[in-house]
Symmetry: C3
Subunit: 223 residues, 3 copies
């Protein structure tokens, strides 16, 4: 029921757009890390599909959408080919990539929350899984590239918060029985706008109070 | 049946205690790595729930306990808030944290083994999953923080062995039909005590014989 | 049906051989990273069983083979003991290890594709999962060891391509109804041969065109 908020084809096209832009970010990181073309394809697939794959495993939707929909699998490969041949041009339109990435973030946190609720999870768990499906791919991308995940670093503009707000809006709409195409779209736009504002004004989240003087690049030995 | 060794509420409180102390260790590592408050929350959740999540996915218990019990989700957030405001104080009571962490290790290896056996796994597989649910969260924590997992490093006090002993004790008790609240508690205490002894006397595990002189920090290129 | 291409015992022995050689590569990396004996065992298990575990979780085959077949669990431990006592000798026969690793690659991509198709996945998804079960263990091994996965690096001889070819051959054989013991064996041999040729002639995959001058070891800050 909830799944049919958008007509299936519109939903599907939006999904593919989100997958495409996430795949672009994976392939670009692979180029920066000097990986070969297969490394680019792996990183593109993981970034685009990793979050949704995690969500589907948790809710027991096997085989996951990533493996049952051919379009989901092929789209990241197209992104890889594009970046392979045109990556300086893609880098140059970083602003455009950021806008699409923000759109992907908004779309995924909303569709992830909705799908998790459809599979019987509670509202909090659904919103958490919506967040996880929006940011999970990026975390896996950074782990595979042997980087500290962007999501966790304090010197990055807010990324989790817009997704949390979007997912929470969907959960509240479900709670009060007002989830429809309009309110879903509103949640997507809110997450998208917050992310773009965070990028424009470099919003950051606070770190722990009273930290002793630790160096970010040479952390103390950790037990 | 086995699940009811402890009355549900006692079992639940013990679980939450284990989750809380594991979450503390995740949040503390996040502070040391200079992550922001969302990074702290993510690392706290992953450390506290990652091991059990892996166990539940493997045995097919979906949705996993981490997503069906609100208390499991909220407890790491409380730990995050605590560390956010009071982390120098929390660091100062490192000994206390270590003791609780050892208790969490003991509790999780026993409850993990029991739950896996309840889902029909063999004794060896159950003990392995018990071990995985006890140490898995810490491994995920270190991977996300881009560190070599504490569990694998030779210059850390024994961590896996106490959990292996506890899980093996439970498996043996099941094998001989003597698993009850008393023997379960004995397994928890054994794992806890072994871990505390390992911390006190700096017990280490051996490395491979006849190693050539490799430098730990600059490993050779690996193929 | 497809599972019975080989008689069960032959298939099982081949699986154990693949698991054994993958475990050797995990244990050797653990020695190079200076891990203790438990770190060796963990890395051996993860390398040997990680790819198949991922495949089984995706297709919903729970509990996964890694936890339901005792031989799968014990074999990596034997490899660990061997490397523990004899690792200089094992290092010296690196060529032999490479040949067996190539055999494991071929066996796993074929058996993974076949098993995924048996569980109802499409041909492309089956081949992708076959590839993932062949290379997934090695990726997990490198992630746990805090290294950039070998699979993704451009300065490594081709590893993914032989597995892709083998998995694609199986998918095509299924498509045209000619999958049998002979064609399966042919796919294994093709993947094995391609990997050995890649090792001998140092075949590499191309990197993105028009890269700006990035340094492999000091990648730019990545957003």
């Amino acid at each position: 029921m909830l799944q049919e908020l958008f007509t299936p084809s519109v939903q599907h096209v939006l999904d593919l757009v989100g997958i495409f832009v996430f795949a672009i970010s994976g392939a670009l990181l692979a180029v920066r890390k000097n990986f070969d073309v297969f490394g680019m394809a792996v990183l593109a697939e993981v970034t685009a599909l990793g979050g949704g794959l995690f969500r589907d495993l948790v809710i027991g939707a096997v085989p996951p959408a990533a493996f049952s929909d051919l379009g989901y699998f092929v789209t990241p490969l197209i992104a890889t080919v594009l970046v392979f041949f045109l990556h300086p041009e893609v880098e140059r339109i970083q602003l455009g990539v950021n806008i699409f990435d923000a759109a992907g973030l908004g779309l995924f946190c909303v569709s992830g929350t909705t799908k998790a609720y459809d599979y019987g999870l509670g509202l909090t768990a659904s919103a958490t899984l919506g967040l996880a499906s929006a940011v999970g791919g990026g975390v896996l991308r950074d782990v595979l590239a042997n980087e500290v995940p962007s999501l966790l670093r304090w010197d990055r503009d807010l990324y989790a918060v817009p997704a949390i707000v979007g997912a929470a809006m969907v959960a509240l709409c479900i709670r009060f029985g007002v989830l429809n195409a309009f309110t879903s779209g509103l949640a997507v736009c809110t997450a998208l706008s917050l992310r773009l504002l965070a990028l424009k004004y470099h919003w950051r989240a606070p770190r722990a109070w009273h930290r002793s003087s630790v160096k970010a690049d040479e952390p103390d030995q950790v037990g």
